[in-house]
Amino acid sequence: MLHAAPDTAQLREPVGTPAPRGELSAVLLGALSGPPFALPADLEIPGGDPLSDDDLHLALYLAYELHYRGVPGADERWEWDPSLLALRARLEERFERALVEAVPCDDPPVAPDEIDLALRGVAEADRGRSLSAYVEREATVEQVREFAVHRSAYQLKEADPHSWALPRLSGPPKAALVEIQADEYGGGRTERIHAELFARTLDALDLDSRYGAYLDRVPGVTLATVNLMSLFGLHRRLRGAIVGHLALFEMSSSVPNGRYARGLRRLGFGEDATAFFDEHVVADAVHEQVAAVDLAGGLVRQEPALAGDVLWGARVLAELERRWGDRVLDAWEAGATSLRRPLANAGA
């Protein structure tokens, strides 16, 4: 499959107005298309599982997207509208409470020099089924395309949620986060930005690489994994959690990304599809050390009281990734799509 070199100079503008998934997202999407007004303070928060509910997580995702690339067709003044921020706070409160119920924040105190070991303990305790092993050995082309669509919700803005933490840190942990993020953003080279590499993977898989193109297909359980990063990143009080999230993310990246790359090669895909994953094997081998030892350890050295939050952020990541992976593998093993709607066949 030959593809023209991506035009990396173009603005990666978000595309597509998402469809509502319930009453709340319908009200929100209706409101966003016009100038801001005071949203009712008593809008009902969806009653489904706060860790995966479609209506709740689409509404929260849209509220956060106003701070990233924006929502297509939305009046940009909504970003700092007090009534929208109040609604977002209510959604966050429901989400965060469910996170604490699912993953108690009860770690014993950990010394700064031991944080990397404690984080490794979280990674090793993760008993989730391995999506990456499945992709390496048996996934079909249709399934790897679905996998890429799920991941596009984050990977097309890879690293951005963790960048919110930069101004909240100082000294050694700040330097460590910059060391990681510089790599994520391609070390100053547009075509090496990880989000750009992922867009190339989407192109190679005959998928739409435009930002937001698949939002309607991505279920709440996937959006929750992205909303988690925005929640942690946008609240200073959760700086320990976003650091723990990044550390575990990096620590559980090199080996799975090697498997994804081998799965793609098994299916006959070339360098344009695998470059993103190959890059992550090498880059995250560096990042996991820097994130666990220098970033997480460095933060806890400055603020020992944050050790518990660091580990909680890591555990919550593992929990939401496990739920997401189970949902995807359950669907595939049942011969069904893991998305809200199946994709058109490649080349169609």
Binding site: D116, L117, E179, D183, G187, V281, V282, D284, A285, Q289
Partner: protein, 74 residues
């Protein structure tokens, strides 16, 4: 980084050697091995599939080594 800051090589506990600073990596015949990044992780457990670079396999094989120097009596 200041102009004369030395290159540092850091053994991370149970993990790779992180090399920070401008270095040239060469094979034994003097052919350059492209690095392409500011900080590079070199395999220390011997099991990486992309040696001399680290690919995270040390975790799978439960490689153990201290961050400081070993004294040979362990």
């Amino acid at each position: 980084m200041p102009e004369h800051a030395p290159v540092t090589i850091t053994p991370y506990r149970d993990g790779p050697l992180l090399v920070r600073g401008p270095v040239q990596l060469e094979d034994m015949h003097g052919n350059p091995i492209p690095v392409g990044r500011e900080t590079v992780a070199l395999c220390r457990c011997g099991k990486s599939r992309i040696r001399p670079f680290c690919d995270g396999t040390h975790k799978v094989v439960r490689f153990r080594a201290p961050t400081g120097a070993e004294d040979g009596r362990g």
